[in-house]
Amino acid sequence: MMNHLGQLYQAYGKSVYRIALHYVQNVEDAQEITQDVFVAIHDHLNEFRQEAQITTWIHRIAVNKCLDHLRFKKRKKRFAAVMSIITGEKHETEIPHFDHPGVAMESQEEMKKIFDAINQLPEQQKTAIILMKLEGHSQQETAVIMNTSTKAVESLISRGKQKLREILSKDMDLNNVKTTR
């Protein structure tokens, strides 16, 4: 079983780690997610149905684990905010800095802005953008991973791109105002 897991790790470890990095943009969290994904693969390998592609199955687990991780972080942040109101003490929640080893050094600053904008998208749009625009999956593959139709993916991508443009142009306007001052 472990040997089989090792082979799967060799084949899909990098793509899982990369997907996690696109979601959290932080090495520590991405490693934790990758670990959770392979533990889940180990636990549910017997349930894997051969008619599905193993790539899509693994990537679906990865996407779900990433979303779970982000929801957990959001809950933790909300809990800390409520606790600070109740106790009057400041509960510090650390904001992880941008640490994405998959981004070229010369593009770090610009890509940080783009990832900040991606982080503001709703979950489904974010997932569609990550799988298609960053991971290079086809519309069909993205639909299978997200368990939805190709039409729905098309609409998610178009709305996601539009929203990204809006966020990025607002950001650019803000920067222009700052520089003219």
Binding site: L5, K14, Q31, Q35, V39, H42, S107, K161
Partner: protein
């Protein structure tokens, strides 16, 4: 740069940390150790329920006994009073 269709062009090959698979293996081993088989969980749950039932039965019995003793002592007191009168 801000061409959203072309953002993947700014990505480079990502290497996996060398220790990550060892960490995964350790996490799986740890999970196996902590894992309690379903049958054992059932036995433990049933034992807990049985203990609770026995406890409740004993508490009720003890309470009944106390009630009987208090009634008996009340009768005795009344008897004594009647005798003295």
């Amino acid at each position: 740069m801000r061409d959203i269709d072309n953002i993947s062009a700014h990505l480079v090959e990502t290497e996996l940390p060398p220790y990550l698979f060892t960490r995964i293996e350790a996490a799986i081993e740890q999970k196996k150790k902590v894992h309690i088989p379903a049958a054992r969980t059932w036995v433990m749950a049933m034992a807990l329920v049985a203990t609770l039932v026995i406890d409740l039965y004993m508490i009720r019995n003890k309470w009944n006994e106390q009630q009987i003793v208090s009634v008996q002592s009340l009768i005795e007191v009344q008897d004594n009073q009647l005798y003295h009168e």
